[in-house]
Amino acid sequence: MTKSRAVKKFLKFAGVPLAIFTVVLIVPFVNGVYYTFTDWDGFEVNKLVGFSNYTKSFQDPTFWSTLRFTALFVVVSLILVNVVAFGLALIVTSKLKSRNILRTFFFVPNLIGGVVLGVIWQFIFNSAIVALANKYDWTLFKESWLQDTNKAFWALIIVTVWQSSGYMMIVYITGLVSIENDVLEASQIDGASPLRTLMTIKIPLMAQAFTIALFLTLRGGFMAYDVNVALTGGGPFRTTELISLHIFQDAFANGNFGTGQSKAVVMFLIVALAALVQVTISKRYEVQR
């Protein structure tokens, strides 16, 4: 093939998508990193300011509390979503006749966007449970959970687990059914108990599914925004703001574009680092077949 024909083919097949990708993703990303070192106010850049946007960000106490809150949220949701999802996958891959119906029930919350789920649960926590608690005298629920930082955290976790476990369940089902039957039969003939088979055969052979599900929940945890904004809105008093909402507020509600963008870059670095560490560790457990 001549050179000009090769170029033509490249443009024909990849030109448009690559151009859009560059304009939408690469340019704003590079731009964004550059802006954090300037006095950018959302409109124009006058001078370079070194790291002062970053120092200002880290001097902001609410940013620290958001980071702590986000870290806790990521860890707890990561563990609970995956434990629940794996349990659901085991139930749904068992020999039950009702397994397909059960799968639908577990999966449906996942179809619905975080915002709609968030407001559904806002009704439940703010109104439904409170009304029932007053009727039947349940002290734990008399005050809405969303009015208290610690309980609002668990409310966020409950909704996240309810939403994401169905998706991760599918990932685990894919892993479970990919295990060859002869391996399972062999372990049965050798007299291994179901629990033993699960721990020593199934889980190691489907480690790839864990890598993927952990990666997705990790990333989802850091990026969680919809449920946060619809369920707690960051309240009471901005104590339940996850990092996405915090950045959104900083930039678009308070007009702090410089610090908002620096916090966004910090968020990117944390996500990239966490994902890299997680994938490296998980890969080590994967068995080559």
């Binding site: 083919k9 024909k12 097949f13 990849a14 998508p17 859009i20 990708f21 304009v23 939408v24 993703l25 340019v27 704003p28 731009n31 964004g32 959302g42 659901l88 139930i91 020999k95 039950l96 009702s98 119906i101 059960l102 639908t104 029930f105 577990f106 999966f107 919350p109 179809l111 619905i112 966007g113 915002v115 709609v116 407001v119 559904i120 649960w121 806002q122 009704f123 439940i124 109104s127 439904a128 009304a131 029932l132 599918i170 089902i173 894919t174 990919s178 990333r219 990026m223 925004y225 619809a230 996405s244 950045i247 678009f252 574009f257 963008q261 966004a264 870059v265 968020m267 990239a272 994902a275």
Partner: protein, 274 residues
């Protein structure tokens, strides 16, 4: 079957049924209360409505501009997903079949870009595209979805094309078909399963997306999640109407899922393995 296995199965069933009930319960609660009047809801959110009133639905339909938002959601989702399929399948075909450094690096950049959270670029993004957005916000949104979705979609297609033998391309070119004709007539139809996966994964994401539409769209062009959120914010005091609004917001995607259930499940598991 041994007695122990039977017991095990029974326990699994009971646990599964309880969990299914718990997963479904919030929807039940919303639905039941969407048919009730406010005093009835406050007296007992769990009670079955004494007489069914569809008035809440009528109110919600008009107040949240349901049909307008539904139309917007459909237009935006269908156009974005179709364009994503066209562009990313072509690009993936090129990248998978052209074995040189350039295509290797492009692929690498695409894969790496998937780790970048949208939040990391939304601020400069909105500043840069303000004019484009005010010119045509729905068009801009579709353009953005192509930009953000193309990496994952190309990645999925890339993995699939690698399994199609190159002899097929060669045979087509010997028969005198041009690159484009060979791709659309022969290769693309072979990629049906992965096209279904790409379509479903992107449609779910775009249909439910909230943050980007919130930044980009106006009142007239808002999508279903946006109008639900705004409606709920305004009328959450009117419990019955708010619940009816939520039921309306949930119905379209659930119907879509029930119709295409098999494709959904296999789509997600395909997307996950890659």
């Amino acid at each position: 079957m041994s007695a122990r296995a039977r017991l095990g199965r029974r326990v699994t069933f009971v646990v599964g049924a309880i969990l299914a009930f718990a997963y479904f319960f919030p929807f039940f609660l919303v639905f039941v209360n969407s048919l009730k009047l406010k005093p009835e809801i406050l007296a007992n959110p769990l009670s079955i409505p004494t007489h069914i009133s569809w008035d809440n639905f009528q109110q919600a339909l008009t107040k949240m501009n349901f049909f307008r938002s539904l139309t917007n959601s459909i237009i935006i989702t269908v156009l974005s997903v179709s364009l994503l399929i066209v562009f990313s399948s072509m690009m993936a075909y090129y990248l998978a079949r052209t074995k040189n450094k350039l295509s290797k690096y492009i692929f690498l950049i695409l894969v790496t870009s998937m780790i970048v959270p949208f939040q990391a670029l939304m601020i400069p993004f909105m500043a840069r595209f303000a004019q484009f957005v005010s010119w045509n916000n729905r068009g801009a949104l579709i353009f953005f979805y192509i930009g953000f979705g193309v990496a994952l979609s190309t990645f999925l297609y890339h993995g699939f094309i690698s399994t199609i033998p190159t002899e097929i391309d060669e045979a087509a070119s010997i028969d005198g078909a041009s690159d484009m004709v060979a791709f659309w007539r022969i290769i693309f139809p072979m990629m049906r399963p992965i096209t279904a996966t790409v379509a479903i994964i992107n449609a779910l994401w775009i249909w439910n997306d909230f943050l980007l539409p919130r930044l980009v769209l106006t009142n007239e062009t808002q999508t279903l999640p946006l109008s639900t959120y705004l409606f709920y914010g305004q009328y959450s005091i009117e419990y019955g109407q708010a619940m009816a609004g939520l039921v309306l917001a949930v119905i379209p995607i659930v119907i879509f899922y029930l119709v295409l259930q098999k494709q959904f499940i296999s789509g997600i598991s395909q997307g996950a393995v890659k």
